[in-house]
Symmetry: C2
Subunit: 325 residues, 2 copies
Protein backbone atom coordinates (compact mmCIF):
# COMPACT_ATOMS: atom_id res chain seq x y z
CA UNK A 1 0.00 0.00 0.00
CA UNK A 2 1.24 3.46 -0.88
CA UNK A 3 0.91 5.75 2.15
CA UNK A 4 -0.40 9.19 1.25
CA UNK A 5 -0.54 12.40 3.26
CA UNK A 6 -2.50 15.48 2.22
CA UNK A 7 -1.36 18.97 3.16
CA UNK A 8 -4.21 21.50 3.05
CA UNK A 9 -7.90 20.71 3.25
CA UNK A 10 -9.67 23.05 0.87
CA UNK A 11 -11.53 22.00 -2.30
CA UNK A 12 -8.43 20.38 -3.81
CA UNK A 13 -7.47 18.57 -0.63
CA UNK A 14 -10.98 17.13 -0.46
CA UNK A 15 -10.65 16.04 -4.11
CA UNK A 16 -7.43 14.18 -3.34
CA UNK A 17 -9.02 12.65 -0.25
CA UNK A 18 -11.86 11.24 -2.36
CA UNK A 19 -9.51 9.93 -5.07
CA UNK A 20 -7.12 8.23 -2.65
CA UNK A 21 -10.09 6.61 -0.91
CA UNK A 22 -11.10 5.15 -4.29
CA UNK A 23 -7.60 3.73 -4.96
CA UNK A 24 -7.23 0.18 -3.71
CA UNK A 25 -3.45 0.30 -3.65
CA UNK A 26 -3.24 3.52 -1.64
CA UNK A 27 -3.88 4.39 1.96
CA UNK A 28 -4.60 7.87 3.23
CA UNK A 29 -2.67 8.16 6.50
CA UNK A 30 -3.27 11.75 7.55
CA UNK A 31 -4.48 15.18 6.54
CA UNK A 32 -2.21 18.01 7.64
CA UNK A 33 -3.46 21.52 8.27
CA UNK A 34 -2.08 24.88 9.32
CA UNK A 35 -5.32 25.46 11.20
CA UNK A 36 -6.04 24.05 14.62
CA UNK A 37 -6.59 20.34 13.73
CA UNK A 38 -9.47 20.04 16.18
CA UNK A 39 -11.44 22.57 14.11
CA UNK A 40 -11.13 20.58 10.89
CA UNK A 41 -13.55 17.73 10.26
CA UNK A 42 -12.79 15.49 7.30
CA UNK A 43 -14.92 13.08 5.29
CA UNK A 44 -12.65 10.05 5.53
CA UNK A 45 -11.75 8.31 8.72
CA UNK A 46 -8.18 9.61 9.07
CA UNK A 47 -6.44 11.73 11.68
CA UNK A 48 -6.11 15.47 11.10
CA UNK A 49 -2.69 16.66 12.21
CA UNK A 50 -0.85 19.91 12.52
CA UNK A 51 1.80 20.79 9.94
CA UNK A 52 4.19 20.93 12.88
CA UNK A 53 4.16 17.15 12.97
CA UNK A 54 4.99 17.11 9.28
CA UNK A 55 7.93 19.43 9.92
CA UNK A 56 9.64 16.79 12.02
CA UNK A 57 10.27 14.77 8.85
CA UNK A 58 9.21 11.68 10.75
CA UNK A 59 5.70 11.15 9.42
CA UNK A 60 5.33 7.69 7.88
CA UNK A 61 4.18 8.68 4.39
CA UNK A 62 5.40 7.65 0.94
CA UNK A 63 4.17 10.79 -0.74
CA UNK A 64 2.75 14.12 0.40
CA UNK A 65 0.18 15.80 -1.83
CA UNK A 66 0.49 19.54 -1.27
CA UNK A 67 -2.83 21.28 -1.85
CA UNK A 68 -2.01 24.96 -1.52
CA UNK A 69 -2.36 28.06 -3.66
CA UNK A 70 0.17 28.87 -6.37
CA UNK A 71 0.53 32.54 -5.48
CA UNK A 72 2.12 32.24 -2.05
CA UNK A 73 1.70 28.72 -0.56
CA UNK A 74 3.37 26.40 -3.04
CA UNK A 75 6.54 28.41 -3.79
CA UNK A 76 7.34 28.04 -0.08
CA UNK A 77 5.75 24.74 0.86
CA UNK A 78 6.86 22.47 -1.97
CA UNK A 79 10.63 23.13 -1.65
CA UNK A 80 10.30 23.00 2.14
CA UNK A 81 8.66 19.58 2.25
CA UNK A 82 10.69 18.26 -0.71
CA UNK A 83 13.60 18.19 1.74
CA UNK A 84 11.74 15.64 3.83
CA UNK A 85 9.27 13.67 1.72
CA UNK A 86 8.30 12.76 -1.81
CA UNK A 87 5.96 15.57 -2.77
CA UNK A 88 3.58 16.55 -5.53
CA UNK A 89 1.84 19.85 -6.21
CA UNK A 90 -0.39 21.60 -8.74
CA UNK A 91 1.66 24.79 -9.14
CA UNK A 92 0.04 26.66 -12.04
CA UNK A 93 1.71 30.06 -12.34
CA UNK A 94 3.11 29.30 -15.80
CA UNK A 95 5.70 32.08 -15.86
CA UNK A 96 7.28 30.93 -12.61
CA UNK A 97 7.48 27.21 -13.37
CA UNK A 98 11.22 27.17 -14.24
CA UNK A 99 12.11 28.88 -10.96
CA UNK A 100 9.80 26.65 -8.91
CA UNK A 101 11.21 23.56 -10.65
CA UNK A 102 14.76 24.57 -9.74
CA UNK A 103 13.91 25.20 -6.09
CA UNK A 104 12.16 21.86 -5.76
CA UNK A 105 14.93 20.07 -7.65
CA UNK A 106 17.62 21.41 -5.30
CA UNK A 107 15.66 20.24 -2.27
CA UNK A 108 14.60 16.82 -3.51
CA UNK A 109 17.95 15.90 -5.08
CA UNK A 110 19.62 16.44 -1.72
CA UNK A 111 16.94 14.46 0.10
CA UNK A 112 16.94 11.60 -2.41
CA UNK A 113 13.23 12.21 -2.94
CA UNK A 114 11.02 13.12 -5.90
CA UNK A 115 9.19 16.44 -6.19
CA UNK A 116 6.62 16.42 -8.98
CA UNK A 117 5.33 19.90 -9.75
CA UNK A 118 2.54 21.45 -11.83
CA UNK A 119 0.29 18.41 -11.97
CA UNK A 120 -3.43 18.46 -12.72
CA UNK A 121 -5.17 19.13 -16.02
CA UNK A 122 -3.70 22.47 -17.06
CA UNK A 123 -0.86 22.34 -16.34
CA UNK A 124 -0.98 18.55 -16.51
CA UNK A 125 -3.08 16.54 -18.95
CA UNK A 126 -3.38 19.50 -21.34
CA UNK A 127 0.39 19.98 -21.23
CA UNK A 128 0.90 16.31 -22.06
CA UNK A 129 -1.38 16.62 -25.04
CA UNK A 130 0.43 19.72 -26.31
CA UNK A 131 3.70 17.79 -26.03
CA UNK A 132 2.52 14.54 -27.62
CA UNK A 133 0.89 16.34 -30.54
CA UNK A 134 3.88 18.57 -31.21
CA UNK A 135 6.26 15.62 -31.03
CA UNK A 136 4.17 13.67 -33.55
CA UNK A 137 3.43 16.56 -35.90
CA UNK A 138 6.27 19.09 -35.59
CA UNK A 139 4.70 21.11 -38.41
CA UNK A 140 1.52 22.31 -36.75
CA UNK A 141 -0.11 24.53 -34.20
CA UNK A 142 -1.62 23.98 -30.73
CA UNK A 143 -4.71 25.80 -29.50
CA UNK A 144 -5.95 25.60 -25.93
CA UNK A 145 -9.52 26.56 -25.04
CA UNK A 146 -10.86 26.60 -21.50
CA UNK A 147 -14.42 26.19 -20.35
CA UNK A 148 -17.21 26.40 -20.05
CA UNK A 149 -16.11 26.54 -16.46
CA UNK A 150 -15.79 28.50 -13.26
CA UNK A 151 -12.62 30.53 -12.84
CA UNK A 152 -11.98 30.93 -9.13
CA UNK A 153 -9.46 33.70 -9.69
CA UNK A 154 -11.91 35.76 -11.73
CA UNK A 155 -14.74 35.11 -9.27
CA UNK A 156 -12.51 36.31 -6.44
CA UNK A 157 -11.56 39.44 -8.40
CA UNK A 158 -15.24 40.39 -8.71
CA UNK A 159 -15.83 39.74 -5.00
CA UNK A 160 -13.20 42.34 -4.15
CA UNK A 161 -15.28 45.10 -5.78
CA UNK A 162 -17.05 47.43 -3.39
CA UNK A 163 -20.73 46.52 -3.01
CA UNK A 164 -20.37 42.92 -4.21
CA UNK A 165 -21.47 40.16 -1.83
CA UNK A 166 -20.68 37.13 -3.96
CA UNK A 167 -19.90 36.27 -7.59
CA UNK A 168 -19.29 33.43 -9.98
CA UNK A 169 -17.40 33.85 -13.25
CA UNK A 170 -17.59 31.42 -16.17
CA UNK A 171 -14.95 31.30 -18.88
CA UNK A 172 -16.64 30.32 -22.15
CA UNK A 173 -14.84 29.34 -25.37
CA UNK A 174 -16.15 31.10 -28.49
CA UNK A 175 -17.90 28.54 -30.69
CA UNK A 176 -16.86 30.17 -33.96
CA UNK A 177 -13.20 30.08 -32.93
CA UNK A 178 -13.47 26.42 -31.92
CA UNK A 179 -15.11 25.57 -35.25
CA UNK A 180 -12.42 27.35 -37.25
CA UNK A 181 -9.62 25.62 -35.37
CA UNK A 182 -11.26 22.21 -35.72
CA UNK A 183 -11.71 22.82 -39.45
CA UNK A 184 -7.93 23.17 -39.73
CA UNK A 185 -7.97 26.86 -40.68
CA UNK A 186 -5.03 27.64 -38.36
CA UNK A 187 -6.50 31.05 -37.51
CA UNK A 188 -4.65 33.76 -35.59
CA UNK A 189 -6.97 34.42 -32.67
CA UNK A 190 -6.86 37.34 -30.29
CA UNK A 191 -7.69 36.87 -26.62
CA UNK A 192 -11.12 38.38 -27.27
CA UNK A 193 -11.82 36.01 -30.15
CA UNK A 194 -11.10 32.86 -28.12
CA UNK A 195 -13.10 33.26 -24.91
CA UNK A 196 -15.91 35.29 -23.40
CA UNK A 197 -16.53 35.86 -19.69
CA UNK A 198 -19.95 35.47 -18.05
CA UNK A 199 -20.38 36.90 -14.58
CA UNK A 200 -23.15 36.23 -12.06
CA UNK A 201 -23.01 38.83 -9.32
CA UNK A 202 -24.85 39.30 -6.02
CA UNK A 203 -24.73 42.90 -4.76
CA UNK A 204 -25.65 44.73 -1.57
CA UNK A 205 -29.04 46.36 -1.44
CA UNK A 206 -28.90 49.76 -3.09
CA UNK A 207 -25.52 49.15 -4.66
CA UNK A 208 -24.69 51.05 -7.83
CA UNK A 209 -25.01 48.27 -10.42
CA UNK A 210 -23.87 50.43 -13.32
CA UNK A 211 -20.65 51.33 -11.51
CA UNK A 212 -20.01 47.68 -10.53
CA UNK A 213 -20.62 46.44 -14.09
CA UNK A 214 -18.23 49.08 -15.42
CA UNK A 215 -15.58 48.17 -12.85
CA UNK A 216 -15.81 44.51 -13.79
CA UNK A 217 -15.70 45.07 -17.55
CA UNK A 218 -12.76 47.44 -17.37
CA UNK A 219 -10.67 45.44 -14.90
CA UNK A 220 -7.22 45.06 -16.50
CA UNK A 221 -5.81 41.51 -17.08
CA UNK A 222 -8.99 39.90 -15.78
CA UNK A 223 -11.76 41.30 -18.00
CA UNK A 224 -10.69 44.26 -20.14
CA UNK A 225 -9.44 42.09 -23.02
CA UNK A 226 -12.64 40.02 -23.18
CA UNK A 227 -16.27 40.42 -24.13
CA UNK A 228 -17.80 40.25 -20.69
CA UNK A 229 -21.43 39.95 -19.70
CA UNK A 230 -22.58 40.79 -16.21
CA UNK A 231 -25.79 39.35 -14.72
CA UNK A 232 -27.01 40.57 -11.36
CA UNK A 233 -28.81 37.80 -9.50
CA UNK A 234 -30.05 37.05 -6.00
CA UNK A 235 -28.08 35.14 -3.40
CA UNK A 236 -30.60 32.27 -3.61
CA UNK A 237 -30.20 32.04 -7.36
CA UNK A 238 -26.42 31.95 -7.04
CA UNK A 239 -26.66 29.10 -4.56
CA UNK A 240 -29.21 27.19 -6.57
CA UNK A 241 -27.69 27.47 -10.06
CA UNK A 242 -24.03 28.29 -9.59
CA UNK A 243 -22.73 26.38 -6.60
CA UNK A 244 -20.77 23.74 -8.52
CA UNK A 245 -17.21 24.06 -9.80
CA UNK A 246 -17.47 22.63 -13.31
CA UNK A 247 -14.68 23.19 -15.80
CA UNK A 248 -12.99 21.69 -18.82
CA UNK A 249 -11.76 22.67 -22.22
CA UNK A 250 -9.87 21.40 -25.23
CA UNK A 251 -6.37 21.19 -26.60
CA UNK A 252 -6.75 21.16 -30.37
CA UNK A 253 -3.69 20.55 -32.51
CA UNK A 254 -3.72 20.84 -36.27
CA UNK A 255 -0.70 19.73 -38.21
CA UNK A 256 0.40 18.21 -41.44
CA UNK A 257 2.50 15.36 -42.75
CA UNK A 258 3.96 14.09 -45.96
CA UNK A 259 5.13 15.50 -49.21
CA UNK A 260 1.58 16.47 -50.24
CA UNK A 261 0.68 18.17 -46.93
CA UNK A 262 -2.01 15.88 -45.56
CA UNK A 263 -3.83 17.47 -42.63
CA UNK A 264 -4.60 16.05 -39.22
CA UNK A 265 -6.57 17.24 -36.23
CA UNK A 266 -5.83 15.93 -32.73
CA UNK A 267 -8.22 16.96 -30.00
CA UNK A 268 -8.17 16.26 -26.28
CA UNK A 269 -11.11 17.57 -24.36
CA UNK A 270 -12.40 17.47 -20.82
CA UNK A 271 -15.89 18.07 -19.46
CA UNK A 272 -15.65 18.11 -15.69
CA UNK A 273 -18.46 18.33 -13.15
CA UNK A 274 -15.93 19.19 -10.47
CA UNK A 275 -12.62 20.84 -11.26
CA UNK A 276 -11.03 20.22 -7.83
CA UNK A 277 -12.12 16.57 -7.73
CA UNK A 278 -10.73 15.87 -11.20
CA UNK A 279 -7.51 17.71 -10.40
CA UNK A 280 -7.31 15.70 -7.18
CA UNK A 281 -7.74 12.49 -9.15
CA UNK A 282 -4.88 13.42 -11.50
CA UNK A 283 -2.66 14.30 -8.52
CA UNK A 284 -3.49 10.94 -6.94
CA UNK A 285 -2.50 8.94 -10.04
CA UNK A 286 0.79 10.85 -10.23
CA UNK A 287 1.33 10.42 -6.47
CA UNK A 288 1.30 6.67 -7.18
CA UNK A 289 3.95 7.16 -9.87
CA UNK A 290 6.09 9.31 -7.57
CA UNK A 291 6.08 6.71 -4.79
CA UNK A 292 6.94 3.90 -7.21
CA UNK A 293 9.68 5.75 -9.06
CA UNK A 294 11.32 6.84 -5.83
CA UNK A 295 11.30 3.25 -4.59
CA UNK A 296 13.29 2.45 -7.76
CA UNK A 297 15.86 5.08 -6.79
CA UNK A 298 14.69 7.97 -8.96
CA UNK A 299 15.03 11.42 -7.38
CA UNK A 300 14.79 15.15 -8.15
CA UNK A 301 12.12 17.45 -9.52
CA UNK A 302 9.84 16.04 -12.21
CA UNK A 303 6.83 17.08 -14.25
CA UNK A 304 4.20 15.00 -16.03
CA UNK A 305 6.55 15.02 -19.05
CA UNK A 306 9.03 12.83 -17.18
CA UNK A 307 6.67 10.09 -16.06
CA UNK A 308 6.12 6.97 -18.16
CA UNK A 309 2.33 6.37 -18.27
CA UNK A 310 2.49 2.81 -16.90
CA UNK A 311 3.60 4.19 -13.51
CA UNK A 312 0.23 5.91 -13.07
CA UNK A 313 -1.78 2.74 -13.07
CA UNK A 314 -2.13 0.11 -10.34
CA UNK A 315 -2.69 -2.46 -13.10
CA UNK A 316 0.31 -4.70 -13.89
CA UNK A 317 2.27 -4.18 -17.10
CA UNK A 318 1.17 -7.60 -18.39
CA UNK A 319 -2.47 -6.69 -17.90
CA UNK A 320 -2.01 -3.26 -19.43
CA UNK A 321 -0.48 -4.76 -22.57
CA UNK A 322 -3.15 -7.43 -22.79
CA UNK A 323 -6.18 -5.20 -22.24
CA UNK A 324 -5.34 -1.52 -22.78
CA UNK A 325 -2.93 -1.58 -25.71
CA UNK B 1 21.62 13.18 -35.30
CA UNK B 2 19.62 10.00 -34.78
CA UNK B 3 20.23 7.62 -37.67
CA UNK B 4 17.07 5.90 -38.86
CA UNK B 5 16.57 2.94 -41.18
CA UNK B 6 13.20 1.93 -42.62
CA UNK B 7 12.39 -1.68 -43.40
CA UNK B 8 9.58 -2.02 -45.95
CA UNK B 9 8.46 0.63 -48.41
CA UNK B 10 4.69 0.44 -48.60
CA UNK B 11 2.27 3.15 -47.44
CA UNK B 12 3.57 3.06 -43.87
CA UNK B 13 7.23 3.10 -44.91
CA UNK B 14 6.54 6.16 -47.02
CA UNK B 15 4.80 7.78 -44.04
CA UNK B 16 7.87 7.21 -41.86
CA UNK B 17 10.13 8.50 -44.65
CA UNK B 18 8.18 11.76 -44.78
CA UNK B 19 8.14 12.16 -40.98
CA UNK B 20 11.87 11.49 -40.54
CA UNK B 21 12.60 13.98 -43.33
CA UNK B 22 10.66 16.59 -41.34
CA UNK B 23 12.61 15.90 -38.11
CA UNK B 24 15.65 18.11 -37.77
CA UNK B 25 17.37 15.87 -35.24
CA UNK B 26 16.99 12.70 -37.35
CA UNK B 27 18.68 11.44 -40.44
CA UNK B 28 17.23 8.79 -42.73
CA UNK B 29 20.20 6.63 -43.72
CA UNK B 30 18.62 3.87 -45.80
CA UNK B 31 15.43 2.16 -46.84
CA UNK B 32 15.61 -1.64 -46.79
CA UNK B 33 13.47 -3.83 -48.99
CA UNK B 34 12.92 -7.51 -49.64
CA UNK B 35 12.39 -6.63 -53.29
CA UNK B 36 15.20 -6.01 -55.74
CA UNK B 37 16.43 -2.57 -54.54
CA UNK B 38 16.95 -1.35 -58.08
CA UNK B 39 13.20 -1.67 -58.71
CA UNK B 40 12.25 0.56 -55.75
CA UNK B 41 12.34 4.31 -56.24
CA UNK B 42 11.93 6.41 -53.11
CA UNK B 43 10.94 10.04 -52.55
CA UNK B 44 13.87 11.04 -50.37
CA UNK B 45 17.46 11.05 -51.46
CA UNK B 46 18.59 7.91 -49.60
CA UNK B 47 19.98 4.58 -50.74
CA UNK B 48 17.63 1.63 -51.13
CA UNK B 49 19.29 -1.52 -49.88
CA UNK B 50 18.50 -5.20 -49.67
CA UNK B 51 17.45 -6.68 -46.34
CA UNK B 52 20.49 -8.92 -46.76
CA UNK B 53 22.68 -5.98 -45.81
CA UNK B 54 20.56 -5.45 -42.74
CA UNK B 55 21.04 -9.10 -41.79
CA UNK B 56 24.77 -8.56 -41.32
CA UNK B 57 24.02 -6.49 -38.22
CA UNK B 58 26.59 -3.99 -39.42
CA UNK B 59 24.37 -1.24 -40.76
CA UNK B 60 25.10 2.08 -39.06
CA UNK B 61 21.62 2.89 -37.73
CA UNK B 62 20.41 3.92 -34.27
CA UNK B 63 16.91 2.60 -34.82
CA UNK B 64 15.16 0.51 -37.44
CA UNK B 65 11.49 1.24 -38.12
CA UNK B 66 9.90 -2.01 -39.27
CA UNK B 67 6.99 -1.33 -41.61
CA UNK B 68 5.51 -4.76 -42.26
CA UNK B 69 2.13 -6.42 -41.86
CA UNK B 70 0.99 -7.75 -38.50
CA UNK B 71 -0.34 -11.06 -39.82
CA UNK B 72 2.92 -12.63 -40.99
CA UNK B 73 5.74 -10.04 -41.36
CA UNK B 74 6.13 -8.52 -37.90
CA UNK B 75 5.94 -11.70 -35.78
CA UNK B 76 9.06 -12.83 -37.67
CA UNK B 77 10.84 -9.61 -38.51
CA UNK B 78 10.69 -7.72 -35.23
CA UNK B 79 12.25 -10.44 -33.04
CA UNK B 80 14.78 -11.16 -35.81
CA UNK B 81 16.04 -7.59 -36.09
CA UNK B 82 15.70 -6.93 -32.35
CA UNK B 83 18.76 -9.18 -32.03
CA UNK B 84 20.79 -6.67 -34.04
CA UNK B 85 19.31 -3.18 -33.75
CA UNK B 86 16.97 -0.99 -31.78
CA UNK B 87 13.64 -1.61 -33.48
CA UNK B 88 10.10 -0.30 -33.48
CA UNK B 89 6.97 -1.72 -35.08
CA UNK B 90 3.22 -1.13 -35.34
CA UNK B 91 2.08 -4.68 -34.52
CA UNK B 92 -1.70 -4.46 -34.16
CA UNK B 93 -3.07 -7.97 -33.70
CA UNK B 94 -4.36 -7.26 -30.20
CA UNK B 95 -4.79 -10.88 -29.13
CA UNK B 96 -1.18 -11.74 -29.95
CA UNK B 97 0.51 -8.73 -28.30
CA UNK B 98 1.65 -10.60 -25.12
CA UNK B 99 3.33 -13.32 -27.23
CA UNK B 100 4.94 -10.81 -29.60
CA UNK B 101 6.15 -8.73 -26.64
CA UNK B 102 7.83 -11.78 -25.11
CA UNK B 103 9.57 -12.74 -28.34
CA UNK B 104 10.89 -9.23 -28.87
CA UNK B 105 11.90 -8.91 -25.22
CA UNK B 106 13.97 -12.09 -25.34
CA UNK B 107 15.81 -10.87 -28.42
CA UNK B 108 16.42 -7.28 -27.39
CA UNK B 109 17.39 -8.04 -23.80
CA UNK B 110 20.15 -10.31 -25.09
CA UNK B 111 21.28 -7.72 -27.62
CA UNK B 112 21.19 -4.83 -25.15
CA UNK B 113 18.79 -3.06 -27.49
CA UNK B 114 15.23 -1.74 -27.24
CA UNK B 115 12.32 -3.20 -29.17
CA UNK B 116 9.22 -1.00 -29.01
CA UNK B 117 6.13 -2.78 -30.29
CA UNK B 118 2.55 -1.86 -31.20
CA UNK B 119 3.15 1.83 -31.84
CA UNK B 120 0.88 4.10 -33.90
CA UNK B 121 -2.54 5.44 -32.99
CA UNK B 122 -4.48 2.26 -32.16
CA UNK B 123 -2.59 0.56 -30.68
CA UNK B 124 -0.62 3.63 -29.67
CA UNK B 125 -2.12 7.03 -28.89
CA UNK B 126 -5.57 5.53 -28.26
CA UNK B 127 -4.03 2.99 -25.87
CA UNK B 128 -2.28 5.78 -23.99
CA UNK B 129 -5.54 7.63 -23.59
CA UNK B 130 -7.33 4.52 -22.33
CA UNK B 131 -4.54 4.10 -19.79
CA UNK B 132 -4.32 7.73 -18.64
CA UNK B 133 -8.09 8.02 -18.25
CA UNK B 134 -8.43 4.76 -16.33
CA UNK B 135 -5.54 5.66 -14.04
CA UNK B 136 -7.12 9.05 -13.25
CA UNK B 137 -10.71 7.81 -12.92
CA UNK B 138 -10.62 4.17 -11.86
CA UNK B 139 -14.41 4.23 -11.55
CA UNK B 140 -15.41 4.66 -15.17
CA UNK B 141 -15.69 3.17 -18.60
CA UNK B 142 -13.72 3.54 -21.85
CA UNK B 143 -15.33 3.55 -25.28
CA UNK B 144 -13.35 3.45 -28.51
CA UNK B 145 -14.92 4.49 -31.80
CA UNK B 146 -13.13 4.27 -35.13
CA UNK B 147 -13.75 6.32 -38.25
CA UNK B 148 -14.96 7.65 -40.39
CA UNK B 149 -12.07 5.96 -42.13
CA UNK B 150 -10.85 3.39 -44.60
CA UNK B 151 -10.24 -0.09 -43.24
CA UNK B 152 -7.63 -1.75 -45.43
CA UNK B 153 -8.42 -5.20 -44.06
CA UNK B 154 -12.11 -4.88 -44.90
CA UNK B 155 -11.37 -3.41 -48.33
CA UNK B 156 -9.07 -6.38 -49.03
CA UNK B 157 -11.73 -8.83 -47.87
CA UNK B 158 -14.18 -7.42 -50.43
CA UNK B 159 -11.55 -7.56 -53.17
CA UNK B 160 -11.22 -11.30 -52.65
CA UNK B 161 -14.87 -11.86 -53.68
CA UNK B 162 -15.35 -13.31 -57.15
CA UNK B 163 -16.28 -10.63 -59.69
CA UNK B 164 -14.89 -7.69 -57.65
CA UNK B 165 -12.21 -5.54 -59.29
CA UNK B 166 -11.59 -3.06 -56.51
CA UNK B 167 -13.21 -1.87 -53.29
CA UNK B 168 -12.98 0.63 -50.51
CA UNK B 169 -14.60 0.12 -47.11
CA UNK B 170 -15.32 2.89 -44.61
CA UNK B 171 -15.88 2.22 -40.94
CA UNK B 172 -18.34 4.81 -39.60
CA UNK B 173 -19.18 5.41 -35.94
CA UNK B 174 -22.91 5.60 -35.18
CA UNK B 175 -23.76 9.18 -34.20
CA UNK B 176 -26.45 8.20 -31.72
CA UNK B 177 -24.01 5.91 -29.88
CA UNK B 178 -21.35 8.66 -29.77
CA UNK B 179 -23.91 11.12 -28.41
CA UNK B 180 -25.06 8.74 -25.70
CA UNK B 181 -21.50 8.01 -24.58
CA UNK B 182 -20.55 11.71 -24.57
CA UNK B 183 -23.65 12.46 -22.51
CA UNK B 184 -22.30 10.11 -19.84
CA UNK B 185 -25.07 7.53 -20.18
CA UNK B 186 -22.55 4.63 -19.95
CA UNK B 187 -24.60 2.58 -22.43
CA UNK B 188 -23.98 -1.08 -23.19
CA UNK B 189 -23.41 -1.08 -26.93
CA UNK B 190 -23.37 -4.05 -29.25
CA UNK B 191 -20.97 -4.19 -32.20
CA UNK B 192 -23.85 -3.25 -34.51
CA UNK B 193 -24.80 -0.25 -32.39
CA UNK B 194 -21.31 1.27 -32.44
CA UNK B 195 -20.26 1.24 -36.10
CA UNK B 196 -21.68 0.85 -39.59
CA UNK B 197 -19.74 -0.24 -42.67
CA UNK B 198 -19.96 1.56 -46.03
CA UNK B 199 -18.59 -0.24 -49.07
CA UNK B 200 -17.75 1.19 -52.49
CA UNK B 201 -17.28 -1.65 -54.92
CA UNK B 202 -16.15 -1.86 -58.55
CA UNK B 203 -17.26 -5.07 -60.27
CA UNK B 204 -16.55 -6.82 -63.55
CA UNK B 205 -18.97 -6.21 -66.38
CA UNK B 206 -21.94 -8.51 -66.07
CA UNK B 207 -21.07 -9.53 -62.52
CA UNK B 208 -23.97 -10.65 -60.31
CA UNK B 209 -24.29 -7.62 -58.03
CA UNK B 210 -26.98 -9.16 -55.85
CA UNK B 211 -24.75 -12.15 -55.12
CA UNK B 212 -21.74 -9.93 -54.38
CA UNK B 213 -23.75 -7.68 -52.06
CA UNK B 214 -25.05 -10.74 -50.22
CA UNK B 215 -21.56 -12.21 -49.90
CA UNK B 216 -20.25 -8.96 -48.44
CA UNK B 217 -23.10 -8.47 -45.97
CA UNK B 218 -22.96 -12.05 -44.72
CA UNK B 219 -19.17 -12.31 -44.43
CA UNK B 220 -18.45 -13.53 -40.88
CA UNK B 221 -16.21 -11.41 -38.60
CA UNK B 222 -15.87 -8.69 -41.23
CA UNK B 223 -19.46 -7.63 -41.99
CA UNK B 224 -22.11 -10.00 -40.60
CA UNK B 225 -22.28 -8.24 -37.22
CA UNK B 226 -22.69 -4.77 -38.75
CA UNK B 227 -25.25 -2.78 -40.68
CA UNK B 228 -23.48 -2.68 -44.01
CA UNK B 229 -24.31 -0.65 -47.10
CA UNK B 230 -22.92 -1.61 -50.50
CA UNK B 231 -22.57 0.94 -53.31
CA UNK B 232 -21.52 -0.21 -56.75
CA UNK B 233 -19.50 2.48 -58.50
CA UNK B 234 -17.25 2.83 -61.53
CA UNK B 235 -13.48 2.53 -61.44
CA UNK B 236 -13.17 6.24 -62.27
CA UNK B 237 -15.43 7.20 -59.39
CA UNK B 238 -13.42 5.05 -56.99
CA UNK B 239 -10.21 6.75 -58.09
CA UNK B 240 -11.70 10.22 -57.96
CA UNK B 241 -13.55 10.06 -54.64
CA UNK B 242 -12.00 7.22 -52.67
CA UNK B 243 -8.27 7.20 -53.31
CA UNK B 244 -7.19 8.67 -49.97
CA UNK B 245 -6.63 6.75 -46.76
CA UNK B 246 -8.33 8.93 -44.17
CA UNK B 247 -9.09 7.58 -40.71
CA UNK B 248 -9.50 8.61 -37.11
CA UNK B 249 -11.81 8.04 -34.22
CA UNK B 250 -12.28 8.76 -30.55
CA UNK B 251 -11.50 7.31 -27.18
CA UNK B 252 -14.21 8.54 -24.85
CA UNK B 253 -13.93 7.86 -21.16
CA UNK B 254 -16.68 8.64 -18.70
CA UNK B 255 -15.98 8.31 -15.02
CA UNK B 256 -16.82 9.73 -11.65
CA UNK B 257 -15.13 11.10 -8.56
CA UNK B 258 -15.94 12.10 -5.06
CA UNK B 259 -18.41 11.21 -2.41
CA UNK B 260 -21.31 12.74 -4.40
CA UNK B 261 -20.43 11.05 -7.72
CA UNK B 262 -19.44 14.00 -9.87
CA UNK B 263 -19.16 13.01 -13.53
CA UNK B 264 -16.38 13.66 -15.99
CA UNK B 265 -15.92 13.05 -19.71
CA UNK B 266 -12.45 12.73 -21.22
CA UNK B 267 -12.28 12.54 -25.00
CA UNK B 268 -9.31 12.08 -27.30
CA UNK B 269 -10.10 12.23 -30.97
CA UNK B 270 -8.21 12.09 -34.24
CA UNK B 271 -9.24 13.24 -37.70
CA UNK B 272 -6.57 12.08 -40.11
CA UNK B 273 -6.25 12.82 -43.82
CA UNK B 274 -3.75 10.00 -44.14
CA UNK B 275 -3.71 7.06 -41.78
CA UNK B 276 -0.27 5.74 -42.87
CA UNK B 277 1.37 9.17 -42.70
CA UNK B 278 0.04 9.86 -39.21
CA UNK B 279 1.02 6.37 -38.04
CA UNK B 280 4.45 6.97 -39.57
CA UNK B 281 4.72 10.24 -37.67
CA UNK B 282 3.91 8.51 -34.37
CA UNK B 283 6.47 5.79 -35.12
CA UNK B 284 9.07 8.46 -35.86
CA UNK B 285 8.53 10.28 -32.55
CA UNK B 286 8.84 6.98 -30.68
CA UNK B 287 11.91 6.02 -32.74
CA UNK B 288 13.55 9.14 -31.30
CA UNK B 289 12.64 7.98 -27.78
CA UNK B 290 13.98 4.47 -28.46
CA UNK B 291 17.36 5.76 -29.66
CA UNK B 292 17.68 8.11 -26.69
CA UNK B 293 16.62 5.61 -24.04
CA UNK B 294 18.98 2.97 -25.42
CA UNK B 295 21.85 5.46 -25.32
CA UNK B 296 21.05 5.79 -21.60
CA UNK B 297 21.40 2.04 -21.18
CA UNK B 298 17.74 1.00 -21.27
CA UNK B 299 17.03 -2.31 -23.04
CA UNK B 300 14.29 -4.86 -23.68
CA UNK B 301 10.81 -4.79 -25.17
CA UNK B 302 8.73 -1.68 -24.52
CA UNK B 303 5.36 -0.25 -25.46
CA UNK B 304 4.10 3.34 -25.49
CA UNK B 305 3.12 2.79 -21.84
CA UNK B 306 6.77 2.59 -20.84
CA UNK B 307 8.01 5.78 -22.48
CA UNK B 308 8.08 9.09 -20.60
CA UNK B 309 6.60 11.73 -22.96
CA UNK B 310 9.64 14.06 -22.85
CA UNK B 311 11.67 11.45 -24.76
CA UNK B 312 9.44 11.89 -27.82
CA UNK B 313 10.33 15.52 -28.36
CA UNK B 314 13.52 17.04 -29.76
CA UNK B 315 12.83 20.09 -27.58
CA UNK B 316 14.94 20.35 -24.39
CA UNK B 317 13.36 19.67 -21.00
CA UNK B 318 13.91 23.30 -19.97
CA UNK B 319 12.05 24.54 -23.04
CA UNK B 320 9.27 22.00 -22.58
CA UNK B 321 8.68 23.13 -19.01
CA UNK B 322 8.81 26.80 -19.97
CA UNK B 323 6.52 26.62 -23.00
CA UNK B 324 4.47 23.42 -23.05
CA UNK B 325 3.63 22.86 -19.38
Amino acid sequence: MIKVGILGYGNLGRGVEAAVTLSEDMELVAIYTRRNPSTVSVKSNVPVKSTEELDTGKEDIDVLVICGGSATDLPEMTPKYAKLYNVIDSFDTHARIPEHFKNVDDASQKAGKIGLISCGWDPGMFSLNRLYATAILPKGEAYTFWGKGVSQGHSDAIRRIDGVIDARQYTVPVKDALDRVRAGENPELSTREKHTRECYVVVEEGADKARIEKEIKEMPNYFADYDTTVNFISEEELKKNHSGLPHGGSVIYTGETGFEGNKHVIEYSLKLDSNPEFTGAVLTAYARAVARLNSEGVKGAKTVFDIAPAYLSPISSDELRAHFL
